[in-house]
Amino acid sequence: MLEQNKFKTKKQQQAWNKTLAGRYYNAMVKRPFLFFGLPFLTTIYAASVYFAEFTAYRYEIQDGKVKALSEEEALKLDKGRRKVDMKEEFYRLQQLGKQDDWEQVRVPRMKGESDNVF
C-alpha cells in the first residue's frame, strides 16, 4: 500500500531527520519550489534538449543503412541481367503475340436493364 506516514517515536524522528532522506524531506516541505519544483523542471527541460542528440544519432545510423537507389543503380545490382535498350524493347513488345485476334463482344445486360438498341 501507499503508506507514507508510519508512526515514529521522538528518537526515531530525530534520527531520521539526520539522514539524507530526512534532511531532504524537511527542506522540501519548507521550500517546495527550490527542492522539488526546480529540479523537476530542469530535469525535464534538459532531457528534452539532450535527448535530441540521441535521436539525431539514431537518425544518422538509420540514414547510413537505408540508401535510395536510382533506377539504373538498382538494375546494376542484378548480376545476370539482360542488356536493355528502350527502343529495342518497344519493337520487341510489338512483335509479341498476335495483334488483331480480338473481337468486340456485347456484355449481356441485366434483367430489366435497357438494351439501348433503337
Binding site: M1, L2, L41, A47, F51, A52, A56, Y59
Partner: protein
Amino acid sequence: MSLKLNIQRWLFSTNAKDIAVLYFIFALFSAMIGTGLSAIIRLELANTGSPFLHGNTQAFNVVITAHAILMIFFFVMPALVGGFGNYLMPLMLGASDMAFARLNNISFWLLVPSLILILTSALVEAGAGTGWTVYFPLAGIQSHSGPAVDLAIFSLHLSGFSSLLGAINFITTFINMRTIGMKYENVPLFAWAVLFTAILLLLSLPVLAAGLTMGIFDRNFNTSFFEYAGGGDAVLYQHLFYWWNHPEVYILIIPGFGIISHAVSAIASKPVFGVQGMIYAMWSIGLLGFCVWSHHMFAVGLDSDTRAYFTSATMVIAVPTSIKIFSWLATLYGGTIRLNVTALFALGFIFLFTIGGLTGVVLANSALDIPFHDSYYVVAHFHYVLSMGAVFSIFCGWYLWSPKILGLHYNERLSHIHFWLMFIGVNVTFFPMHFLGLQGMPRRINDYPDAFIGWNQVASLGSIISIVASIVFIYVVYDQLTNGLHQGNKALDSQFKPSFMGTNLNVEGYTGPTLEWTVSTPPSLHAFNTPAVLY
C-alpha cells in the same frame, strides 16, 4: 424580475458567477451548432461519391472549418476556462470575485460578435474553406477571394482578444486574491490548472494574432509576408500558427486535468496523490508546450537535426503527462470508489485520453509522421484527446459541480445512460479512424476510394450514437433545470454521502478539501465578502 433588472444582471454583469453561467449557456449553444456541423461531415463521408453535398468540396471544407473553430473556441474554451474557471477559481481561492470584474464582462461579450463573425464567414460567398489552421497560400486572396476568410480571421482576433483579457484576469486573481492564509502550496489543483492555462494563453495568443494580421495584410494591403512571389515565406505562417497552436492544445486540456483531479479525489474520498508532482507536471507541460511546435510541420522539409530535436522534445512531454495519469491511478488505488456518473466520466477520461496520448507519441516520430501527417490517424489522435479528453472532463465537471452551482439535481439514471451512449458513440466514431489513417485515407477530402467504405460507415454510425447521447445530455440539463428540486439530493449524495465502507469523516454535505464545498448551495452571489480564513 423586470426587464431592466434582467439587463442589469445579465448584460452588464460583473459577477464572476453570473458570467460563468453566461459562458455555460454560450458553450452549450455553440456545441449544438458544432455537433450539427459534425453530423454533416459524417453524412458526407458515410459513403463514396459525396452523397450529401453532391461534390461541393468547398462546402465540405467550410463545414469542417466551422466545426473545428466552433468546438475549440466557442465550446471547449468557454466551458472550461470561462465557465468552470470563472465559477470555481474565485471560490477555491476564497476570493469574493475575479480581480477585474468589468474586464470579465468584456471578455464574455467579445465572444458573441466573434461567434457571429465566424457563422457569417461560413455563410457568405463560398465560405472559408481553409481548415481551422487557415494556412496560406490557401487562405490567400488568390484562393479565397471573397470576404469570408477576412471574417473568419476577425472572428479569431476577437475571440483571441477575449481570451487574452480573461488570461490577464485569471493570473491577477490567482496572485492577488487568495484568501488569508492560502499559500501557493494550498491552492487547489483546479485553480493551478486555470493559472497555467492563462499563462499559456498570455504567451501564445499574441503570436497567433500577429500571424493572422500579417495574413490580413497579405490579403488586403498588398504585402507579401507569406507570398513567395513577393519574397515571403508561407512556412513562416505555419511557425507562427503552431507557436500558438501547440500551447493551445494544452490550454484545452489542462483545465480538464484540474477537473479530473478534483473528481478523482471526490470519488475515491481521498486527497489527490502527489499534489506537488501534479503542479510541477503541469508547469513542465506548459514549459515544454512552447518547445515542440514543429512536430506539426515534419512534412514541410525541416532538416534532420531539427526534426530530431522536435521528436525528442515532444516525447519528453509524455513524461509529465504520465506522472499525472499515474497520480490519478494512485489516488484511486486503495480508495472506496463510488461508481457514480462523475466517476464514469473521470475513468473514461483517464482511459481514453491515454489512448490519444499514445497515438500522439507515435505521431511525434518525425519518420512515422511523414506517412501519417494529414491522414485520418491525426484526426483520430486529436479526437481522442479532445472529444474524449476535454469534452469528457467538461461532462465530468458538470456532473460533479452542477448540483452545487445550481442547487438543482440531475437524474442519475439518465446521466448514466448519457455516459454509456457517449462512451460507445465516440469510440465507434473515432477508433476506426486509426485504421483509415493507417491505410492512407487523407483528412479534409470529402470523397474516398471504395476500399475505405467499411470503416467510414462504422464511423458515421458512431456519430449518430453520439448525437443521440448529446440529445440525452440536453434533456438531462433540461430535466435538472425544471425538475431539479424534486430529484431529491441523490446527485450530491452519490458523490459525497459516506458509503457503507467509506469513512464517516465526510459528514452530511461533505466539506471536501476545497473551499467551494463549504459555501451554501447554490453559493450566494458574493460568497466570500468577508474573507475566509484558512488554518
